[in-house]
Amino acid sequence: MRSACVHRKLDGADTEGEYTLLRNRVSKMAAATAAGAMLMAAAACGGSDSTTSESTTGASAPAAAAVKVGLAYDIGGRGDGSFNDAAAAGLDKAVTELKVEKKELEATQGETDAQKEERLRLLASGGYNPVIAVGFAYSVPLGKVAKEFPDTKFAIVDDPVAAPNISNLLFAEEQGSFLVGAAAALKSKSGNIGFVGGVDVPLIHKFQAGYEAGAKAVKPDIKIQSKYLTQPPDFGGFGDPAKGKTAAEGMFDAGADIVYQAAGGSGGGVFDAAKAAKGLAIGVDSDQGALPAYSGVKDVIMTSMIKKVDVAVFDFLQHYVSNTVKEGPTIYDLKAGGVDYSVTGGQLDDIKSQLDDYKQKIISGEITVPSS
């Protein structure tokens, strides 16, 4: 080791330079990581004070009369302004209206199935019942944990994994997307529209397929540009507004005048691009035109494809409280009111009757919307 030091000292200028560069890079990286983590933690800690004030602390608390709901989020967690937030809204509603207690656990990017499994097990073994898993990523882990806790009721959003104690909350995203696709085609002046998907995964393919089918039902020769922001297993495309903005800018530049985004947290960038290009955009999951977070761009949000995860989560909890839980799949489609388009802002008032025609045809089965 001694000689190593002498060698280092005698190194050529290049190597020494590289060595320093390398060390600097590492230190910077570590510093950035630490600083970022601190900010995140500070924000999260601050938030958790207010959001979980009604819950008991610790898994060791004796089973109270109140129902203790455990909920495991997908990556992004509470505050993603999209999918997870919709689940959180349903849970919050249940806390106020059904007087249940809640405990929320968040996921880490890039974790293994085993780690997801332990998260669900932690909730189930801590006496939380029912336990809700948000997102199809929990599919395999939930299948295993549900077997171990036959007396606990589980629910999973977006996945068909089957067990006697699992309720599957599934959505017909393609049906809602069909309607906003039809709306885009009816409203487009250039005959050129766009679709921005967050991550190139089968779930998002359903949004794209429905959107394209809806647009083509109105105007068979319409030009549709499609782009996915990232490829799995890189799920960054659900949380990168800059990527969303670049992709949408490209579409507006290439002649599109309306862009639909199914990109979670990246969607904000699509709205910004639409505003800059004096075009229009279509929101997703929540009625994004009505969200305070998007108040600055609400005039470009023509409509939103609403996926009512909040309703599904609340329904499930209500059934649990009244002891009428339905195991197996519950499909939230147009018929059940699980997906829909929003009319906030009134931009669709002139075509609403046409869209409702399509809606009725889908509900009656006259139109079958492809899901891939």
Binding site: S27, A30, A114, Q115, L122, D158, P202
Partner: protein, 374 residues
């Protein structure tokens, strides 16, 4: 003055002792910093660490920690091989993921039965990892492209290729999950019930990790290749002067690093999920960089680092039951790495100064030195 320097120099072993104490101090320092953050957010630090320790010491959690730690350790080894030669292989992440995709696709096709299929899968993973890493090595020696830049870019390309392979060739759609075909039951690597009190088995790949750890030590410290690798890392000019082909060493080192990187995904692929899906763990290559830094490229140090890292990662969920953000462990991890680097840098500088003083002292009293030589 000289007695003071003498005393310091007389404790060369103290440096070795310091080398051991430095990481411990770093961990302690991280605990202090984390406590401050916890206090600032109105949480009780003691309660937090107790909860971490309590959850982490349950048999079941211990098994999970060992399993995750095994992957972390292999990743750290892959990174460390490059580090020892001043090669910053950031591409371990892309190498293991691409290797896992191709291996999962080949393995899922079940071309061979039983154990033969396992061997085929591992060989494919190793070859893909090695080839992918070799690209960065070849770019460096032929075009002078920094491996830092090229491996980052190759990570991105690996993600794209992997996704294309799964979507267009290997993938089977099940629900909302797109994954390769499952590897058949007779070609899986069984776990071992090592930890009493839990049914959860420890991955069979822990044996591979241990073998790799020993091989790493032997290769670097007991072979000519290892000597040449370390020599090149310490001084390229000196290496050239002693007849070592630096270009050859760069390519070979990248390939060896890629070989080990190819194995990172194997515990998950052959021992846990049996397929490559959108849920396949990502970022293990970057965790490996942190652990290699933490363990100072030392085979044992990295093993401890991997377990510590895994403990923090796997125990963090329990904090959320106490309404403490799980990101608190990210702060700990960040501070640990930072303080280890700083601590070692201080030790390193101290050694250089000490060495300089020793040399100047010997030059000042040549007769003594001659006497010592005689």
């Amino acid at each position: 003055m000289s007695t003071f320097v003498d005393r310091l120099l007389g404790r060369v072993k103290l440096s070795g002792w310091l080398a051991l104490v430095a990481p411990l101090l770093a961990v302690l320092f991280a605990v202090v910093i984390t406590s401050v953050v916890l206090l600032a957010t109105g949480k009780a630090p003691l309660e937090t660490f107790q909860a971490l320790a309590q959850y982490g010491s349950q048999p079941r959690t211990m098994a999970v920690i060992v399993n995750t730690g095994t992957e972390y350790y292999i990743s750290a080894l892959a990174v460390a091989i490059g580090f020892r030669m001043n090669l910053f292989n950031i591409g371990v992440d892309g190498q293991y993921r691409l290797a896992a995709v191709v291996a999962a696709g080949v393995g899922g096709a079940a071309l061979l039965p039983g154990v033969l299929n396992i061997i085929l899968i591992v060989v494919v993973a190793v070859v893909v990892g090695a080839l992918w890493a070799a690209i960065a090595g070849l770019l460096r020696v032929t075009r002078g492209v920094s491996e830092v830049i090229s491996t980052i870019m190759l990570n991105s390309i690996a993600t794209g290729i992997g996704s294309w392979l799964v979507t267009n060739h290997f993938g089977v759609l099940r629900g909302n999950e797109l994954a390769t075909k499952e590897i058949p039951g007779d070609s899986r690597v069984p776990g071992m019930a090592l930890i009493p009190g839990t049914q959860l088995q420890v991955t069979g790949f822990i044996v591979l990790a241990l073998v790799l750890g020993v091989a790493y030590y032997v290769l670097l410290n007991r072979t000519r290749f290892g000597f040449e690798l370390r020599a090149t890392g310490q001084s390229e000019t000196a290496a050239v002067a002693s007849g070592i082909s630096v270009k050859k060493m760069i390519v070979i080192t990248m390939v060896v690093s890629g070989v080990v990187a190819g194995l990172i995904g194997m515990p998950e692929l052959l021992g846990a999920s049996y397929k490559y899906s959108t849920n396949f763990p990502t970022g293990l290559g970057f965790t490996g960089i942190a652990i290699a830094l933490l363990g100072r490229n030392n085979a044992v140090g990295m093993a401890i680092g991997a377990l510590l890292w895994s403990f923090l990662d796997n125990s963090s969920d329990t904090l959320q039951l106490l309404d403490i953000s799980k990101e608190i462990v990210a702060i700990m991890q960040g501070v640990i790495v930072l303080s280890v680097i700083i601590a070692y840098e201080l030790v390193h500088r101290y050694r250089i100064v000490a060495e300089q003083r020793r040399v100047s002292r010997e030059l000042a009293t040549p007769q003594q030195a001659e006497g010592a030589a005689a």
